[in-house]
Subunit: 218 residues, 2 copies
């Protein structure tokens, strides 16, 4: 099949396509993968030869349906493993990503199918991100950023946009975790900071924080 490196590239392109849907630029890929643009340029040619992406020089890349299917499968594996780590091995949500980055490359369809069953066919990972099904389809729920909630509105925390350990640990400290109910008491015009209630606690959070938390409105 594909090398670990090739898999990381198509996964990155997949993620970038969920944001922009234009051709993905060499630089954007390089930044996400923490590599050099020249390396990306080289790899893109290989991916193109393998029909994983469509590529015209200087125009960025797009995944082919074949590339998208493969990328979605890697994301599926990543997120299923994250669920496994949290549900079965008592990892916290800020510890799983690094390990899942390794586990996502294990090649065994049976392993993933059985893991899926063991976990009870989860639809979302520990960060609220949807798990693609075997065909690469995902069940997207309509979530909005906490920063877009208005004063007096209420919602449930359903995901995070930043999955870094630092941010997740910060949320843990504040008691903000998936499933918690949040009500906006105040919204400062000056800096867009919020005062919210969560589990009967009053809490003040900056706009930067509110911009990384997804809410489903109630």
């Amino acid at each position: 099949m594909f090398s670990q490196s090739e898999e990381n590239y198509i996964k990155t392109i997949y993620h970038l396509e969920t944001i922009s849907n234009k051709g993905i630029s060499t630089n954007a890929i390089a930044k996400k993968l923490e590599t050099k643009a020249s390396s990306v340029s080289d790899m893109i040619k290989k991916l193109s030869e393998k029909e994983l992406v469509v590529y015209k020089k200087y125009q960025g890349v797009k995944l082919t349906p074949f590339g998208k299917k493969n990328a979605a499968n890697i994301v599926r594996k990543h997120r299923l493993w994250e669920v496994f780590l949290v549900d079965k091995l008592n990892f916290s949500w800020d510890e799983v990503h690094e390990v899942a980055e390794q586990l996502e490359h294990i090649k065994s369809p049976k392993l993933i199918n059985q893991l899926d069953a063991l976990l009870g066919f989860p639809t979302h990972d520990p960060h609220g991100d949807p798990i693609p099904d075997k065909d690469g389809n995902l069940n997207v729920i309509d979530k909005i950023l906490l920063s877009s909630l208005l004063k007096t509105e209420t919602g449930v925390c359903v995901g995070v946009d930043d999955s870094s350990s630092e941010f997740l640990q910060f949320l843990d400290k504040k008691g903000i975790t998936l499933g918690k109910k949040i009500k906006v008491l105040e919204k400062e015009d000056y800096d867009d900071s919020l005062t919210i209630t969560i589990e009967n606690q009053k809490l003040s959070i900056s706009n930067k924080i509110a911009n990384n938390i997804y809410i489903k409105k109630l």
Copy 2:
């Protein structure tokens, strides 16, 4: 840490050392890894620089205590994953090896510790092989080959020497699995074939088969 390739080399040397305890020859390693002697020669130099093995030209290699500790840890991971696949994901004992070959390279001490706990701290893998503890020590039970049992003697099947799918599937077909009680009814002088009873069934097996089944005498 060490690359996947380096890990495969020290694991192979580790296994070969359990058989011979002399310096392990370049050719022996090449054969097990299905690679060329020249590649082994190259890699041995690298392992030696990294203090994983002691090496004098033309003399074969031996693992250093450091190398042995690392190798045992890879074997530990391999066997714990095999238990996981059988106990939690309904794999059969002939399906696990290939996947465990991949999983053994995942780097995360917490993952392995938690997996160990999830599995109830198993001491042996699905093929009856002992699982090294965190320090690399293993609990070796005194097992003997079925071929060394004498007429009228009885034992319990506790392991296999050949873990290939073909052999394991053959054993499944014959109903020979770990924990089964076996009694030797007859032993042919001519070809050393055996007639045994297992689960009240009379069965005839060749010496080649009997040479790959481990028994604990009763």
